[in-house]
Symmetry: C2
Subunit: 313 residues, 2 copies
C-alpha cells in the first residue's frame, strides 16, 4: 500500500478518533536504558486502537452498503470497536459472539449500540453465523485484522506518534492477528527516519514468529496465554506486509508479560491490558540491544476485568 | 499569602517536578453533564502531588539546614515525597514511620533514599521520634500539610491547570490534612477567572466540613475510610486559607468513593487512589448543580496496592 493511502485514511478517520497522548516515564527509561514514548491507545475511544481500523473500514463503504450494516465475529476489542464506530456513523452493526463469552463483553457491545448475535463457541459456528447475516441482511463482513482498510486504520497510531516524535529508532507493537503491526510497519516505513518496527509475541501463541521463519502462515495449536487479544492468527493480507517491513519478533513468557504489565501499572499509573504489556516485555527482555535508543511503544488497549487481575506479591 | 509567593514557588520547583498531563473523557463528560479536566498528579514523580510541596519546603531551607537534613512523620505519600525530593536535592531525609506500616511503604521510602525510623504506632510516639531526630541530628521538621511552603507547593498543580484552561468555573480537590485544598484555593484565587474551589471529603473523616461550619478546627473521632490519605487533620496554617477561599465541601460515602474510583479506572484507564476518587465522587453526587460548567479535578495520586483492590462486580 502507498503513502497516500495512509494519509488519506488518517484524514478520513480523524474526526472520529482521539489523537491519544504520548506518556513518558523517567523511571522506566532508567530501567531500560533508553528513551521510551508510550502511545496510549488504552485512552482511545472504547479503550483500544481497534477503533481506528473499524472506523476506516466503515467509512470506505458505499452509501448502499452502509444502509445494510456491517458484521464481524469477535469476542474481543474489535467487537466493541465495530459497534461504536458503526454507532458514530449511523450504521447498524451485527456482532457475532460465542455464547460462552463473558456477559460483561456482550453488555459492552450492546452499550455501544451493537446487535449481539450469539453462536456456539467454535470457529465454524462463528463463520457460519456471520455468513448468514451477510446473506440475509446484506451486511458487509469486516475482518478484525486481515483487511486492508483495517490495517491502514491501525497504522494511524504510529503515524500520530511519529508526527510528535519523528526521530524514533524503533516502534514496538504486540502481534496478534497482525493488523496493528502491519499498519504500524507501513506508517514507520513512510513517515519514520529509518524507523524499525519490532513485534512482541507470547511464546504461547507465536504463529507470527514461526511464520516469519518458515515464510508461510503458521498456526497455533494451543494459545494458553493471558494476552487474550493475541490468540488470533495472521492473515494473507497482513502477512506479506509484515514480511516486507517488520524487522523481527521477540517472544516472551507468561511471567514476563505479567511482570511487564505490573511494572507499567505501578510506575506509570495507567491501566493496560496483558496484550499491551507484551510489547514492553519484549523491550525489557532484550534491553541490552536497545541502549540509548529512542523507542516508541504502542500501548494497544486498556480493557481488563478489574475483579480478575493477575498481580500477586 | 500573596500572588508573588505562588509564582516564585512555581519557578523554584519547576525543574524538579513534572508538569503533569490533563486528561479528558467524553464519556465522563456525558455522565456528569459538564466538561471535566483531570489534572493527573497520579503521573507526578513518586505518584502524587505531595512531591510539589516537599520540594518547595526543602528548597526554602538555608544551606546549613540542608546539610543537616529534614525529618517528617508519615506513612503515606508525603513520606515518599520528602524522601525523593530530598534525594533529588542531595539532602538527607529521616522518615518516622509506625512499625505497623506495610513493608511495601517502608521499601518505597528506602528506594527513594530515605532513612526510615520506626516507632510505636501512636501519634505521641511519632511526634517524639521526630523531635528526637530534630534535636540529635539538627534536622528540620517538615509537616506534610500544615506548612506554608508545603501549601504553596501543592497549589502549583492548580496553577498549571489554570495555565492550560484559564476558564474553569470550579476546581475540585479531595480534603485531608488541608494542604492541597488550601494551595489550590490560593492558586484559583490568584490565577482563575472567578474560579471556585470545592472539596470532596469522606463522611467517615469529615473534620474539614464540620470545621467550616463551627468556625474552629474539629477532630475526627474515628476515620474508617478507604481514602487513607484523607484521615489526617486540618491545621492552623491551612484552615484560615480554607475558610477564606474555599466555596464549600461535599461529603461522600464509602460506596460513592469506590464507585467513582471504579468509573475512572474503567473509563479513563488510569490508576487513581481512593483519596483521589473522593473529589470526583463529590461531583457525581451533586452533578445537577454543575451542568454545562467547566470543571477541573485534581487527581491527587495513584499509589495503590494492586493486590488489594476494592472492586467487585
Amino acid at each position: 500500500m502507498e503513502k497516500k493511502q495512509v494519509i488519506d485514511c488518517y484524514n478520513r478517520i480523524k474526526p472520529y478518533i482521539h489523537n491519544t497522548p504520548v506518556l513518558t516515564s523517567r523511571l522506566l527509561n532508567e530501567i531500560v536504558g533508553a528513551e521510551l514514548f508510550f502511545k496510549c491507545e488504552n485512552f482511545q475511544r472504547m479503550g483500544a486502537f481497534k477503533m481506528r481500523g473499524a472506523t476506516n473500514a466503515i467509512l470506505q463503504l458505499s452509501e448502499e452498503q452502509r444502509q445494510k450494516g456491517v458484521v464481524t465475529h469477535s469476542s474481543g476489542n474489535f467487537a466493541q470497536a465495530l459497534a461504536l464506530a458503526a454507532q458514530s456513523l449511523g450504521v447498524k452493526a451485527y456482532i457475532v459472539m460465542p455464547s460462552s463469552a463473558p456477559q460483561v463483553k456482550k453488555n459492552a457491545v450492546i452499550g455501544y449500540g451493537g446487535d449481539v448475535v450469539e453462536c456456539e463457541p467454535t470457529l465454524q459456528a462463528r463463520e457460519a453465523a456471520a455468513k448468514e447475516i451477510e446473506i440475509n441482511k446484506g451486511a458487509t463482513f469486516i475482518h478484525p485484522s486481515n483487511d486492508n482498510n483495517v490495517i491502514l486504520g491501525q497504522g494511524t497510531a504510529c503515524l500520530e506518534l511519529l508526527e510528535d516524535y519523528p526521530e524514533l529508532d524503533i516502534v514496538f507493537t504486540p502481534v496478534g492477528g497482525g493488523g496493528l503491526i502491519a499498519g504500524t510497519a507501513l506508517a514507520a516505513h513512510y513517515f519514520g527516519t529509518n524507523c524499525k518496527v519490532i513485534g512482541g509475541e507470547p511464546f504461547e501463541a507465536d504463529d507470527a514468529y514461526r511464520s516469519l521463519i518458515s515464510g508461510q502462515i503458521e498456526s497455533n495449536e494451543t494459545t494458553n496465554t493471558i494476552a487474550d487479544g493475541l490468540k488470533t492468527q495472521l492473515g494473507d493480507k497482513n502477512f506479506p506486509i509484515i514480511q516486507q517491513y517488520v524487522d523481527r519478533i521477540i517472544r516472551v513468557t507468561e511471567e514476563e508479560i505479567v511482570s511487564a504489565m505490573q511494572l507499567i501499572w505501578e510506575r506509570m499509573k495507567i491501566i493496560i491490558e496483558p496484550s499491551s504489556a507484551v510489547a514492553f516485555a519484549a523491550i525489557l527482555k532484550e534491553k541490552a540491544s536497545f541502549q540509548n535508543m529512542k523507542i516508541g511503544v504502542i500501548i494497544s488497549g486498556g480493557n481488563v476485568e478489574l475483579n480478575n487481575l493477575p498481580f500477586t506479591r
